[in-house]
Symmetry: C2
Subunit: 553 residues, 2 copies
Amino acid sequence: MLPSSASQDELVLLPLGGAGEIGMNLNAYGFGPPDDRKWIVVDCGVLFGRETETPGVDIIMPDIRFLAERREDVLAIVLTHAHEDHIGAVGHLWPELQCPVYATPFTARLIEDKLFEAGLAERVRINIVPLHGHLNLGPFSIDFISITHSILEPNALAIRTPLGTVVHTGDWKIDPDPLLGEKTEINALRKIGDEGALALVCDSTNALVQGHSGSEADVRTALTDLIGTLKGRVAVTGFASNVARLDSIAKAARVHGREVALVGRSMHRIVTAARDTGYLADFPSVISEEEAAQLPPDRILYLCTGSQGESRAALARIAAGDHPTVSLGPGDSVIFSSRIIPGNELGIHALHNKLAALGVEVLTVEDHFVHVSGHPAREELAEMYRWVRPQIAVPVHGEMRHMAEHARLAKSLQVPQAVVVENGQMLRLAPGRAEIIDEVPAGRVFLDGRIRVHEGEGFARARRAMGFAGFIAVTLVLDQRGRPAADPAILFEGIPDAVHAPVREAVAETIRRHNPRRGDEQELAENVRRAARRAAADAWGKKPVTRVETAWV
Amino acid sequence: MLPSSASQDELVLLPLGGAGEIGMNLNAYGFGPPDDRKWIVVDCGVLFGRETETPGVDIIMPDIRFLAERREDVLAIVLTHAHEDHIGAVGHLWPELQCPVYATPFTARLIEDKLFEAGLAERVRINIVPLHGHLNLGPFSIDFISITHSILEPNALAIRTPLGTVVHTGDWKIDPDPLLGEKTEINALRKIGDEGALALVCDSTNALVQGHSGSEADVRTALTDLIGTLKGRVAVTGFASNVARLDSIAKAARVHGREVALVGRSMHRIVTAARDTGYLADFPSVISEEEAAQLPPDRILYLCTGSQGESRAALARIAAGDHPTVSLGPGDSVIFSSRIIPGNELGIHALHNKLAALGVEVLTVEDHFVHVSGHPAREELAEMYRWVRPQIAVPVHGEMRHMAEHARLAKSLQVPQAVVVENGQMLRLAPGRAEIIDEVPAGRVFLDGRIRVHEGEGFARARRAMGFAGFIAVTLVLDQRGRPAADPAILFEGIPDAVHAPVREAVAETIRRHNPRRGDEQELAENVRRAARRAAADAWGKKPVTRVETAWV
C-alpha cells in the first residue's frame, strides 16, 4: 500500500451517483496530488422517485457539494449518452459547477431542451464532440469510442492519464446490428487492451442475466411478423428514446399497409431531434392523430408514449377513454415493446387491466419477442473484459446485488482486482493497488415540487409517516397567564371518524388536569400530544403524526 | 333469454372478491327463486394492502353487506384451502354471517389461529370435512375433489344443484408429483364431464403463462443439487404455507449433512399444523436457532420467513444485522425459493442489496430453478377444460388482463360460453344462457389499524394526498364579534421550510384584509385556506392539503 502524500499525483474515481442504484449516474475522475486535483465529471443524471419511498418527489439527483466546493478545479462535464439517468440533472446542477459541457450531436440536441426548461439555454454552451472524437482536458485525454445501447450515439470513454488509461463504458450492450448509428468499435477497445488498460468502470445493470441481450435487428423482424397478424387498430408503446425501435415499428407498419401516427410529446420530440441530427432520413412520413382517426382500423398504427404506466402519458389517457383523438376497443391491440422498470409493475398491470376491460388485446414481452435490453448480459460483460483486459474492475451503474455479482464475474475472468464502491467513496486507481482512500459527503437531493431538499431533511419521510397514520393538529388557546382561554381546536386528517371523539376527550381531560402556571405551556403541549396519540392508538391501533401549537390571547 | 320470474328457481354466481384482483376471494352461489334464494359462500379471503395505493392499510377484504342483509339464507362458508387470500377474512367477517364453516383438516387447523386472534375461537365451530368428503347444504350437494396446488389439502368443489353442476376449482395446478398429500382426482373431474357439467369457475392467475407450471418433485431435485454446491451457512426463504417445499428443503439439508433450524413464527406455526394433522411424519428433527449458532457454517441450514421482503420477518432482520441469533456474511448464501409477488419488487430488491452488501450470495428464481408456481399455466387450463367440458367458463381469481385472456382461451377450446364477471355482478348460470342479471353493492373494506372502513370513506386516499404534498393546519383565534383575538396558529408537516414564510404572510394578509363581521368566519376560513394553498403553490409548485379551524375566545 502506498500512503498518500501531498505532492504525489494520484488518479481517483469518485462515484457520487449510480453506485448502488440504477439511475442518477455521476462519476468524477480526479488527477493530481490531493491538494491540487483536477476533476472531470462523467454524466449527470437523475433518478425517478417512487411514491412508496419518496412520496411527492418525482426527481432525485446526486449531492455534488464536494465538487461544488472545488468548482474551479472541475474542468468539464462529459456526457456519454442522452438517457435521463445520464443527462437529466445537467439543467439542475450545472449552476453549481458552471463548467463546460461536452456531448456528441444527438445528446447535445436533447440536452438543449433541458437547459431551456431550466432557463439556462443562454448561459450554457454545449460543446459538440464528433463521434469518435477526442478531448484534452488538463491531465485527461479522452477518446470517445462508439458502442451500442438502446439510444442513438452511446459512447464509452477512454480516459488516458499519466498514470494509466481508464475505460468508462457508460451504458452499453453488444448489438451486432443496431440498425441505426455506429457499431461497437471493437478494435478501439482491443487496442486499449493491447496497450494495457488500468481500469474498466462498467455497467452492471444485467450482471445477473445469463447469456446475451439480443439485437435490435431481431426485434425488428419479430415486430414486423407480429404486426402482420393483427387485425384492428394497433398501438405500440415503448421508450421514445430508442430511435432504432421507433424506426422498426414505423417500417413494420408500412410493410403491412398501416400509416403511422405519433402520440405523445416525447415521441415527437425524439423523432425531431433524431432528424435534426441526421438520422431517420428514410423514416416513413407520419400522419396526425386527426388524420389517423379517419382511417379504417387496419390502416393505422399509433406509436405511443406511456409504456411504464405513466398516468399523464398518451396510453394511460387512451386506456381511460379520455384521449381527445385516439380510442381503442374490441379487436384492437396494444404492443408493449418495452420491459417493466422495477417498481412500475402495479401501474403497468393496472394499465393492462384497463385495456383488457375495453376488449383490447395486450401483447407484452412476457408472451411475445417484442423487446431486447440495452444492457450487457454476462456473456457480453465477459467479452468486454476479454477486449480491455483491465488491471482493475470497478462495477458501477447498478444496485449492490448487481455490482457484487459483477465483481464476482470479473474475478472469475481473471481480472486481478475487482472493487465494489458506493457513492461518496473515493477510490484511488493509481499508483499502487486500488483502494478506497476517502469518503466525501454524498447522498440524494430531491426535487420536491420546485424546491431542492436534501434527503436527510426528511420532508418526504414526514409525509410518508402521515400517509401511514394520518395527522392530528391541536391548537391550544391560552391567556397570558397560561390558562385555557378557549376550547382547543383539533384537526384530523386521514383518520377514521371513530378515533376523533376519544382523542378530543383525551385532549380535554389533559387540559382539565393541567395546573396552569405561565411557562409550563411546553409541558402542557407535550402532555396533550402524548395523550392524543395514546388515545388514537387505543381506539385505532395506530399513532398519528401529532403536533400541538399554542395561540396566545 | 329467459326473464326472471319470482317463482322460478335460478342458479346464480355472485363474486364479491377476486374477480378483477388476485386476492380476497369470495364467491357466493345462490339457488332458488329471486325472493327465496339460499346461499353458500366459497372462500373468504383477504387482499394485502399496498403502500402506494392504500397507505397504512395492511389488510383489505370484500364488502359483504349483500350477504349480511340476508344472513338467515346463507347456509355455510365452504373453504377450498388455507391460503390467506381464501381464508384470511373469516375471522373478520364471520360475525356478519354467523353461519357454519366447513374445511378439510389442515385448513381447519390453520383457521383456528385466525379465530383465536379475532376472539371467536369459542363461538365458531369449524366443521371438518374429510378429504374426498361430501356436504349437503340445502339445495347444494357438494363433493370435495382433491387437486394439487402449493399448499396441503387444496380442493375443487363439485357443486351439484337441481339445475346443473358447477365445478369451482379453487386454486390449482396439475402437479404429477406433489410430494405431500393427494394427487389430482382426474377421474372425478372426468366423470363430472361425462355426466355433463354446467359451468367451470376457474383460477385465472397464470392464464398469460405458456406451457406447464412444473412439479414440486423437480424443485426438490434441483434444490438438493444446488444446496450441495454451497459452502458456508445456507438460508432458504419461501412461502411457509408450501409444506412440501419446506420438506424438500429440510431433506436436501440432511442429504448434505446440514441441520435445519426454523426461523420465524410462520415456519413454526405451519410445521406444527402440518404435523398435528398427520403430515411430515418423516420431517427431519429441527434444532433451535441457538443450537444452530454453535455449529460450523457448513453444517447448518436456516429455513426463514421473509421471502417477500416483509420488514418484520426473519430474513429482513438478518439482513439488517439485528436478528438475535442468526447472522450471515461473506461465504454464506441465501436461496429465495419463491417468486416475487407483483408490487413487492422494490422491497425484495432492497433485501437482496442488503444481503449482497454483507457479502452474502443471493440465489433466486431468476438464475436458478428453485421455484414453481402453484397456479395452472395455459396447457393445464386446457387439460382441465378437456376433463370437465363445461357449457360455461367463468374465469375468476385474476386481474382483468388474466380473466380476459382466460375467457379467450376457453373460447378457443370450444367452450360454448365464456363470461367475464366483476365483483358484485350476479351471473345467472341456469336456466337459459348465462347472463348478468343484477349488480349488488360490492367493494373493498380496509382494516385500517383496528378499524374497518369502506374504501369509499377515503381515509387512505386523504393520507395519500398528504403523502404527496404535506399538510397545513391553520387555527384562527376569533373573539365573539369575529375579530382576530390572537395571531393564527399555523402548523406545517412535510413541507420544505422555504414554503413556510410565504404561507404565513399570505394567511396574515388575508386576515388583515378581512372586514370582521360575526357570521363571516366561514368565508374568512375559506379565504385563508385558498390563500395558504396559493402561496404554497407559488413558492413550491405543489398544493398541500390545507384545513382551517376556528377557536373562539
